[in-house]
Amino acid sequence: MRRVAMLLLLLLWPSAKQACAARAAQPHQAPSSAPQQPFQATLASTPLLIQLGQSSAELGGLWKFHPGDNPAWAQPNFDDSAWGAMDLTPPPGSADETLGISGYIPGWMARGYPHYAGFAWYRIQVNVQGPNRRLALKMPSDVDDAYQVFANGHLIGSFGKFQGQHVTAYSTLPMDFLLPANSSHGPITIAIRMWMDSATPFNSPDAGGLHEPPVLGYASIIGALTQLDYDTTAQFMVSGLVESMIVFMALLMTLALFWLDRTERAYFWLALVCLAILLTNVIVISGQFTAWIGETLAVILTQVLLSPLQNGLWVLFWGYWFRIPRISLLHRVIWPLVALMMAGVAMLRPPLYGQHIPVQMAGLFDPLVLLVKLCIGIVFLVVVFRGLKRQRTEGGMAALAVLLIILANYRNEMRLLHIPIAFQLGGGFVVQLGTIATVVSLLIITVMLLMRFFHNQRLKEQWKLEIEQARQVQRILIPHDLPSVPGLAIQSEYRPAREVGGDFFQVLPSQPPGSVLIMLGDVTGKGMQAGMLVAVIVGAMRAVAQHSSDPEKILHEINIQLCERRHTSATCLILHIDPQGNVTLASAGQLPPYLNSRELEVPGALPLGTIPDADHSVVTLTLQPGDTLTLMSDGIVEAQDPSGALFGFDRIDALLKDRATAAQIATAAQEFGQEDDILVLTVHKEESTRATPQTHGQKVAA
């Protein structure tokens, strides 16, 4: 219950705050019946005061304000006495009149027009005294969102594109406009036609119109002040530029790491995160200096697309970083949430919001979007929680990085909760909380990435060494030159897996003279351990084969030896073939051999090393001239294609019906998808040898 209450509080808090602010602002709406009079005391009263080097003056004080739109409102003779007042005097202590830098003034939403978006007009009348020099008006660099400025009814300039009722807004730039040459002295009526997009209120709770007073002054001075405004913006953006540079370096590094180690998917996803942050920064920062990208498009790119994408990409990065199982499930959960959030935010942003989506719907969509974003946050926390549980190393660093990322991704929610998200540093530099969080978390993650990379490299070196050693052992044990046995053509096809499997085979001359012992098997396990076990088994087999030519007896002795070692098991098949073609076959769980295209019926038997008194199945048969026995390791039936399907017995049957050679079978399995060692051995009884009187392929179960 408590959790639910907390969530509700989170959802209601911003709107409750706004409502309070709106109520508090009501009394500011001054009665509009006051007669027209000069508003700016410094300009309108004693002329001496401004002749002492006063080259510019902030037009603070009471402007006339009216929502709506009418071209007649630009005219100096329009009677605006019925309009409301809008005080543009900056809060005490926040302005520097000398430099023309002003403090932030809450917009119209916080001052009596809580839900208003669209066109609105500001008007002021001034009486300029002083030398008759060309005047200019500097417009503030913080404005919602686009405007046209009129002096005595003449349009002197605009910011944003105005095409009839359609307005394209840009991220505001400091602008100044020359007043007409004939209005450099005496009374001047300045009218500002302001336009605010219906979605702007979502960026700050006190949006609306001018956030600083315009400054009127001599053109040369105003030009300098505008340049100063750009410098202030640059100072404000320095932290953003630093962030972008760090993100760019992180992007280069993650791409390099991914290029070096494709198996670590976390590098790839972090590169995508960096790319998304970088794109956002490029759009936001460049918008502060040039009007190259319309505000609507910038909002769609950064807030509708990139911001939800960033949230999703972060979750996936940590999913891959912690190697959580069922990453595909995470994809299936996170992408719909990201898409939902994109759709939700799109509803609340231009061009949909206000035009296709009624403004009242915001009350419905806003909490929904917040809810989706919180869901992504919950998935994020679940991933991190499970990850930290699995991976204790680097846990502290990861936890800190995660905390900072949550700060960075949920900074807008904090802003609506009036938690400070920017800090003033010395020298007038301003640092955003999100920037600090992004930079510090990226630094931590970079250290973690490098640690993992070097750790992985070290492991890989070890594996490589171990695999090489195991492979050498196996290479020694896999015979290259098979002994020639009169009347028999023996072929072997051995394709070792990348990771050393445990396949082995031996072909040894046996008694009576002209006979051959063929032993083939597979130990469980892989790598060095399997390689060593193969060495033990092959050594033991060769020793036993010195004094015995009975397959069952050889299996029995090796089984006892393996049982003594414990935790080792191997499947094995031993064939004894005498010069007449009589075959005695003993099996311990090995795949039965095929006689021509037919699988021999060999009763099942336990693998070696399971129990000491195991029985092994024994089968005898006689090879006729032209017969072929095919022996295989389980690496063939268990070859797997990318979808996980097994090569299986049916494919082997089909290949043998087509009289495939050992090499053809091995290649077919390898191309299907090799997982383990592949070993195929064929024993062909040649036509030229003496025929034996026994029936073709007769089998006698022993």
């Binding site: 190697r323 199982p325 699995r390 597979d522 469980t524 396990g525 098991s569 499947t571 769980g589 090995q590 795949l591 039965p592 060999v602 009763p603 099942g604 038997a605 336990l606 693998p607 399971t610 129990i611 195991a614 389980d634 039936v637 268990e638 097994l646 299986g648 017995f649």
Partner: protein
């Protein structure tokens, strides 16, 4: 690199033909050498009185030779303790592999749970 997780759930079923209850071990996920603690742990945790054991492989995604060795080990232990074991849920491929390695000496293999239960 990822942990191989074998999930094993244990369930008690009434025997359709009367007699002892049937203890079902349902395996899910992969059965490989990494499954040793899970499988042997689950087996050793069974009550002494569990005489009839049913192995359900229908949710097993991957089974390799080390995994088969583990199953054999468990079956031999159960056999020594005089327990009766039945299995079901194996693909034709693995039915064949189980037969090949002699597992069928310790357990019969059935197409589904009902058939396996009826065979006790």
């Amino acid at each position: 690199m990822q942990e191989q997780v074998t999930q094993i759930s244990i369930e008690e079923l009434a025997s359709p033909n009367g007699g002892d209850t049937i203890t079902v071990l349902r395996f899910a996920g992969d059965i490989t050498s990494a499954s040793q603690p899970a499988i042997l742990g689950a087996y050793e945790g069974l009550s002494e009185t569990a005489r009839r054991i049913l192995l359900d492989f229908s949710k097993v995604e991957y089974l390799n030779s080390s995994g088969i060795a583990l199953i054999i080990q468990m079956l031999i232990a159960a056999n020594k303790q005089g327990r009766t074991i039945r299995s079901f849920g194996l693909s034709p491929h693995f039915q064949k592999v189980f037969t090949m390695v002699g597992i069928t000496r310790y357990t019969s293999i059935h197409p589904d749970q009902a058939a396996a239960c009826n065979s006790f």
